[in-house]
């Protein structure tokens, strides 16, 4: 519980800056409105107005929290305005993409560790794939897949997988290579084949690396799913919420979608963290 005080201090500092920022950024609109109506605003009135506009440049924290509350708890989850509904759309694409990406990442890593040709050839391509802006490639993936009749969840999941396989490849290659020469020599003295070496030594040794990669991969996967919703005119999902919010100047909606995404990411990464701690503890590796 000793860590709670520093955390609260940082949160408080952010809130102070945020409220101050809201005053600064929304003041012009408030004063323009007042001038048009021919009223003079006192400082208190000005501040109160900047924190309660319908379409502020920067919504105040309590506005975002209120919006989050209304669109999660107070709406039916089947409603088009429910963030739970949109969150689920994005979450399902995220999880499917995460599974694709993790699977592909592990398979590539196994190939890289066991096959010299793959060792020499795959990694440069994997790195190159991550230098292409995802925003540029996402519409093409959607268009290409659409033309062969694949729509809905899968294209977004593939964009997620495209982002999340990379940390898994890098981490797993390192993890599968983590056994030292003494441990490999020990297995050689038993005349152990590649298969047994993999299952009995390399794979268990790679677990700490895998979990670290999974955390990064999960976050990347969520980003991928949101980005997959942005350039495609999607009407459902957190990405679509942000996009429609920006079309109609609904900044509060954008911010609440952003926070929903952040909360979702934190939860997912937290769940992996719990599994990581339990697994590694049981394996005697922490």
């Amino acid at each position: 519980m000793r860590s709670i005080l520093p955390i609260l201090t940082v949160v408080a500092a952010i809130l102070v800056l945020w409220y101050a920022g809201a005053v600064g950024m929304n003041a012009k609109w408030a004063q323009d409105q007042a001038k048009r109506a021919g009223v003079e605003l006192s400082t208190t009135q000005l501040v109160a107005d900047t924190w309660s506009q319908a379409r502020p440049r920067l919504p105040a924290p309590h506005q975002v929290v209120a919006e989050l509350w209304q669109t999660t708890v107070q709406k039916k989850i089947t409603s088009k305005r429910s963030l739970v509904f949109h969150g689920w759309i994005t979450l399902s694409a995220t999880l499917l993409g995460f599974v694709f990406g993790t699977g592909a990442g592990i398979l590539l890593a196994v190939g890289i560790v066991h096959n010299r040709a793959m060792d020499m050839s795959v990694m440069p391509w994997a790195i190159a794939s991550q230098t292409i802006p995802i925003l540029a490639i996402a519409p093409m993936i959607i268009v290409v897949l659409n033309s062969i009749g694949v729509q809905g969840l899968v294209p977004k999941a593939i964009i997620s997988a495209y982002l999340s396989f990379f940390p898994v490849v890098v981490g797993m290659v390192k993890g599968l290579r983590s056994p030292d020469s003494m441990q490999l020599d020990l297995l050689r003295t038993y005349n152990t084949g590649g298969g047994s070496t993999f299952w009995k030594l390399r794979l268990p040794s790679s677990m700490p690396y895998l979990f670290t990669s999974l955390k990064i991969g999960m976050a990347a996967s969520l980003v991928g799913a949101i980005v997959g919703e942005l350039p495609t005119g999607a009407i459902r999902g957190l990405g679509a919420r942000m996009l429609t919010g920006s079309y109609y100047g609904q900044t509060i909606q954008i911010w609440s979608a952003l926070f929903a995404a952040a909360i979702l990411a934190a939860t997912l990464v937290g769940i992996i963290g719990i599994i990581q701690r339990r697994t590694l503890k049981r394996m005697g590796m922490m």
Partner: protein, 261 residues
């Protein structure tokens, strides 16, 4: 059992090619180890004692000369699982219990479940770790971990036990205790043991044959057949016979210019 030597090396050479030119790890090594021998390889670092043990285990391959293990090439002997190897670190898998660690070679070699359990129980008793099978490595002291790794090397009934400074990382009191236990284990199992060390008392206390080596190039400078009896209490180390052997080992090391640097 025939009287053919278990390990026989003739004019063995091993040269590593490095960026700084060739390194003669072994040069002109002749060695005969008979069944039931306890052979220590002693010398300063860089004398090739570990390399020689690794050549016997087919973990390194000689660049010249001839070596047989059980009358076969080391590679064939390894494929027949002729030896158990103990490294300087116990190297137990943290995710396996002691029992699971000892089972590792048995699983790889395809023993049946019942055989595995029987072998594990037997070697646990041999190294005096009965009742610790369900513990995890981190719950055991360094000495106990090393004993578990010896049990792992003994589990599949190889006739040869190769040990590369197995007690090098342990303190002297634990080491004395383990040396005593190792002698008892050797007497019970009749294994042929190759033992790398850089401790003169350890080599003299344990061995029937002491191979003294020196570096640059790695070679054998003396082979001492120990006159000590097979029965060796720890205080044998204060007897004149013991000190005489220790003295000869020290002379052998000096003759190899091992103290030059």
């Amino acid at each position: 059992m025939s009287d053919a030597p278990v390990i026989e090396a003739k004019d063995l050479d091993l040269t590593f090619q490095t960026n700084d030119g060739p390194v003669h790890a072994l040069k002109g090594v002749d060695l005969t180890v008979n069944k039931g021998d306890f052979v220590s390889f002693i010398g300063p670092s860089g004398c090739g004692k570990t390399t020689l043990l690794r050549v016997i285990a087919a973990l390194e391959h000689p660049t010249g000369g001839r070596i047989t293990v059980n009358g076969m090439t080391p590679d064939e002997a390894r494929r027949q699982r002729a030896y158990g190897y103990v490294f300087q670190a116990a190297g137990l898998y943290p995710w396996r219990t002691i029992r699971g660690n000892i089972k590792l070679p048995l699983e790889i070699m395809g023993y049946s479940k019942a055989d595995q359990d029987e072998h594990v129980e037997r070697v646990l008793e041999l190294v005096d770790l009965k009742g610790f099978g369900k513990k995890f490595p981190w719950q055991l002291s360094g000495g106990m971990q090393q004993r578990a790794s010896i049990a792992r090397a003994l589990a599949f009934d190889a006739d040869i036990l190769l040990m590369d400074e197995p007690f090098g990382a342990l303190d002297e009191i634990v080491r004395d205790h383990l040396n005593e236990q190792l002698l008892a284990l050797w007497a019970r199992t009749q294994k042929t043991i190759g033992f790398v060390t850089h401790s003169i008392p350890e080599a003299v206390y344990l061995s029937t044959k002491i191979v003294v080596m020196s570096p640059r190039p790695g070679r054998i400078t003396d082979v001492i057949e120990s006159p000590l009896p097979k029965e060796r209490p720890l205080d044998i180390r204060d007897t004149p016979e013991f000190l005489a052997v220790a003295h000869r080992v020290r002379e052998g090391l000096r003759a190899g210019h091992a103290y030059d640097d």
